[in-house]
Structure formats: C-alpha cells, structure tokens
C-alpha cells in the first residue's frame, strides 16, 4: 500500500513538473494538440540532445503507423535513474505528449506508462537536471 501511495505521489509530481528543454517546443509542437499514443516500442534511440522512442500505433482503420516521440536528454534520464535497458523493444507503452505542428507522426513526450504500471516523466527537464544537491 505504501508502495502504491509512493507511486501515485510520484506520478502526480512528475506530471506537475514542467518540461524544459534546450529548444523552443512551442515553435515545433502544438500545445493545443495533446495526444495519447498506445503501442509497441520498436526502437529507443538513447541519443543527444534528446532521446527518441518509436512505437507502432494501430489506427482505428487497423493500419499501423510508427510514431517518433521526443524524450529527455540521455544525461537527464540517466540522472533520474533510468537506463537504456529500461526500454526493452516490444514493450507496450502508453505515451502522452503533444503533436508536431508539421502534421508528421512526431510528438514531444511528456510521460510514458509501461504495461506493468511503471510511469516515467519523459520531458527534457533541464531544471530537474540542474538542481543543486
């Protein structure tokens, strides 16, 4: 129970934490177009300056479309305790984010939820990275 409480508290905090990145999201992504994507992880690029998750999403017509989701910087993810192998290929994911203004199947991710219930804040929060300890 305590574990569940902690997890819920963590998720609440994570969702409340603003995303801050090295480039202007508002120029590229549309704050009025939030999107929730559900699908299988096909690739995780653990790369600078931002990691990328790729998932196959089944559309209502049955066609499967591969989406690219921008995540935090590898160093920010690393300092949050995440590792590349926390994202095994084939994982069922539910990702929240904002769609690209270009109409491409690209989004800026804010959070990712695994089938086992794990939730991760995806954003490139350089504020979190830059917190004095």
């Amino acid at each position: 129970m305590k574990r569940l409480t902690t997890a819920v508290a963590a998720i609440a905090l994570l969702l409340a934490t603003p995303v801050v990145a090295h480039h202007s999201f508002s120029a590229e992504f549309d704050a009025t177009k939030p999107v929730t994507l559900k699908g299988k992880l096909t690739k995780m690029d653990w790369v600078n300056p931002h990691g990328w998750l790729y998932i196959d999403v089944a559309q209502p017509d049955g066609k499967v479309v591969n989406w690219a989701i921008e995540a935090g910087s590898p160093n920010a993810l690393l300092r949050r305790g995440l590792r590349q192998n926390d994202f095994p290929i084939g994982s069922e994911l539910i990702i929240d984010g904002y769609r690209s203004k270009s109409g491409a199947t690209t989004a800026n991710g804010t959070s990712v939820k695994f089938a086992d219930g794990r939730n991760f804040f995806l954003g490139a929060s350089d504020a979190a990275e830059g917190t004095p300890k």
């Binding site: 574990r3 902690t6 997890a7 963590a10 905090l13 994570l14 934490t17 603003p18 995303v19 801050v20 990145a21 090295h22 480039h23 202007s24 999201f25 508002s26 120029a27 590229e28 992504f29 704050a31 690029d45 790369v47 600078n48 300056p49 931002h50 990691g51 990328w52 690219a68 921008e70 910087s73 160093n75 920010a76 690393l78 300092r79 949050r80 305790g81 926390d86 904002y98 690209s100 203004k101 270009s102 491409a104 690209t106 800026n108 086992d116 219930g117 794990r118 939730n119 991760f120 804040f121 954003g123 929060s125 350089d126 504020a127 979190a128 990275e129 830059g130 917190t131 004095p132 300890k133």
Partner: protein
C-alpha cells in the same frame, strides 16, 4: 522492488525540480528573483570572505547549477516546454530588454521564424553560457578561469592576466573573454562575438557589435552572484544589466557527462518541418536601426 526504486529516484529528482521554480527559490539567504537577489546579495558580497586559491584569488572551483534556465530571460508564464519565470533584466523601468523599435519588431517573430541556435547544438555565446542547459563546472588555474558547460561541450577559457582582445575581424561563437580580478569579483570583458547566438529560446538576440562585461562574485561558499552588462547600440537603446546566480552542486561524486549534442538531433529537422530557417544573425536586416 526495482519499480519502487525507480519511482523513488523519480520522486527525489522531481521534488527539487518543483522547488526550483525560479521566482520562489533562495540562495545565500536571498530570494532568487533577480532584482531582489541583486539587492540582497550586495552587502553580503562586500562582507563575505571567500575561500581562496593558492594564488590568493576567490576560489570558484566546483560544480555549479544555474538558478534560471534560458527559456526566456524576460518575464514569462508557463507554456509548452517553458516554466514560468521572472525577468532577469534588473535595470530598465519595465524590466524589459530595451530594444530599438526595428529590433523589437524583429524579436516579436524571431522564435517563430528561425531555429534557436542552441537547438542546432551551437555554443550558447555570452551571456547565455551562464544560463544554458545542464551542469556547469568552473576550474581555476594560475592565470585562467575555465567555465565548462555540459551542454554541447561548450566551454570558455578566460585568461585573468592582462592582454589584448583578438583583432576585431575575428568573430567567435563564444566571443573573446579577457578576465581580471577586482577585489573578490571576477570581471570578464567579452568582445568579438559573431552575433549568431541568442539569449534564450524566446529569440532575444544581439548583433556582432555586442560588448558584454560580466561579474562573478561569491555571496557565500555555495552561491555565485552573476551579472552581465550588455551594450549593443545596433540592437538596444541603452546598455542594460541581467542578473542570475549559480548554486553549488555538492552531490558526492558528481561529474559532467559526455553530451555529444549533434548525434541524434532531430530538433533541426523538426523545426525545418514547420518552416523555421537556420538563424543567420541580424547583419543586413537591422542596418537601418542605428
């Protein structure tokens, strides 16, 4: 168990992030809001006796975290990818950057027309270096202060012995820095900038005529007061000053990590996909602004 551990780590990292909403934080017993921080820090800077290096100068060595991000150095609210924050400008009546009219018109659409130079992994330039992403490290040796930034492996090597600036025809992303010690303050004179850098992601900009004078002063053992005076008659009606702070990162074993910025950079591709262009500075655009 692993899940719990991961969640706890996330809690640990998320709580300070929330606590670090810039306008409400403190350092050295001073509120971080720049005007208040500046006023509060002045008497402390005069009386604080800083630790010193072997050659007798204030010891700035260590890992440091910026008090403010470089999303927008003017006052702004929450937005997509942007955390609300106060203006870092301390000495204009409205706390706005004193743009000339033509420059102000340009600024209004800058971030919607051009790719933020930092998104292309270019060095941040000065003064953005002081508020640019990720951790900072200062290394001092006799005759030099080196300011490392994790992002894009950007660095500044600041000589603290007398010497001339580079010839005026040399234009540099990070500018040419010449430092000197004035009492307990490291004063850095920066010229030779290439005019291709912004202050932030909001498109606040300078030209290659910019002259910056920075002042780094320890307020207490774990806080640096940072001040940059900006003079660029091509872009601004008057010189103006921005203030930020660095807070010491005391995490045991902390280190800067590799950040090979360009390796997977799709931000440029994405920005071009919505019609943004590479930024090429204001030379020729603001020619009539003087």
């Amino acid at each position: 168990m692993k899940t719990t551990a991961a969640v706890l780590i996330l809690v640990a990292s998320a709580v300070p992030a929330s606590a670090q909403v810039p306008a409400t934080g403190t350092a050295a017993g001073c509120p971080l809001e720049p005007v208040k921080f500046h006023a509060c820090a002045q008497p402390k800077m005069k009386t604080f006796s800083p630790p010193r290096t072997a050659d007798g100068h204030p010891d700035l060595n260590g890992y440091w975290e910026r008090a403010f991000t470089s999303q927008d150095i003017e006052e702004h609210g929450d937005g997509l990818g942007v955390q609300a924050g106060p203006s870092l400008v301390i000495d204009t009546p409205d706390r706005r950057i004193p743009y000339r009219p033509a420059a102000l018109e340009l600024k209004k659409t800058m971030a919607d027309r051009f790719i933020s130079p930092l998104a292309s992994c270019f060095p941040p330039g000065v003064p953005r270096h002081a508020v640019a992403p990720a951790s900072h490290q200062i290394l001092q040796t006799s005759g030099y202060v080196v300011h490392l930034l994790e992002y894009s492996h950007a660095y500044r090597i600041i000589p603290t012995v007398a010497g001339p600036h580079a010839p005026s025809n040399v234009k540099l992303w990070q500018g040419d820095s010449r430092g000197r010690w004035e009492g307990n303050t490291l004063v850095v004179d920066v010229t030779n900038s290439n005019g291709l850098t912004w202050f932030d992601n909001a498109g606040n900009f300078v030209s290659d005529a910019v002259h910056v004078v920075e002042r780094f002063t320890l307020v207490d053992a774990d806080t640096i007061h940072y001040e940059a005076r900006i003079d660029d008659p091509t872009v601004f009606t008057r010189p103006w000053t921005m203030v930020s702070a660095f807070r010491r990162n005391k995490e045991p074993g902390y280190e800067l990590l590799e950040q090979a910025c360009y390796e997977g950079n799709r931000a440029v591709e994405g920005a071009e996909g919505v019609g943004l262009k590479p930024y090429q500075g204001v030379t020729g655009i603001l020619g009539g602004a003087k």
